[in-house]
Symmetry: C2
Subunit: 170 residues, 2 copies
Amino acid sequence: MENSKPSTSLSGESLLYLTDEQLRKGIEAMFFAYRGFTADPDRILENLDYGRAHHRALHFVHRSPGTTVGNLLAILGVTKQSLNRVLRTLFDDALVEARVGKKDKRERHLYLTEKGAALERELSDAQRARMRAAYRAAGPQAVQGFRTVLEAMMDPEMLRQFQRMLEGGK
Amino acid sequence: MENSKPSTSLSGESLLYLTDEQLRKGIEAMFFAYRGFTADPDRILENLDYGRAHHRALHFVHRSPGTTVGNLLAILGVTKQSLNRVLRTLFDDALVEARVGKKDKRERHLYLTEKGAALERELSDAQRARMRAAYRAAGPQAVQGFRTVLEAMMDPEMLRQFQRMLEGGK
DNA sequence: TTGGAGTGTCAACAACGCTGACGTATCGTT
DNA sequence: AACGATACGTCAGCGTTGTTGACACTCCAA
């Protein structure tokens, strides 16, 4: 337990936003918001035979076409057995295809097929629609803050991966 | 698919933050940040025989002592069978106790035991420490924006529940 | 007294994590 | 050419947490 009630008027800036109570509210907001965040894609997926894991795989293959299995493993933070189960169904259903690496033939480079791209777009559209509405309602300054706090919440390694990924995407 | 590239200079304020690319980055930030968000409690839980679901139950019982099972069900958004499995282990291990309702004897009001409060505190401290660090690093304005966007991301019903909960907690 | 609400529980199942172990192809370096 | 390391796939088994469906009990309120 650290400072429950930080002393006020330290440097002119109020530190009331660091009280345990405020932090707790932030935690709860994160919990409820994440539910909303995944709700729309989940609704689409539940009809098909896919789950959230498939969505994540599609998302990152779309984001980084030609990425290798090992790459995806690192990004998703799961075991290869877990990812493999998902990838296999995506291969079987022809949503993703793997091409043997040109330079290193051990590597499998992953690409979305037309069909995979279509599903990814459907999921992505639903999720982005909610994000867009939230962003629009909150305004650019709030969005800036949102992103800042989220990045500060990540583990350092994740943050590095995240920022490296941002460079790719314009 | 909505507006990929909103026309600029609409009302003086740039709408660049609403591009699909920016939204996509926000989605990814949410994904990575949530991983960080749960990482610390997860680490503590994995040693014990509990999981994330136990953490959530402890959190909300702590937050709203005396809450009923039905209440908790609504907040957590799971089925009673799922919650019951978790609650049973918490009862068995004497982390949570249920008292029959005084007014309505069908209801079970949930309270943390000393032991439960201790574990809740341990988990909560870990999670709050990360939030505090993130908040501090980002600053009060960013935190304000963070909260605004999160609330805008919630489903309307969740938002109502969330705001009702906030009133309780000072 | 009867219907419905709040709760507990049994059984079965699915999604998605995990570990451990093993196999194969390929690469890079002696 | 041989060998160890790397990238990947796969089998087997298991745990947590979610789901549905069904049934029973208690209790409140009309």
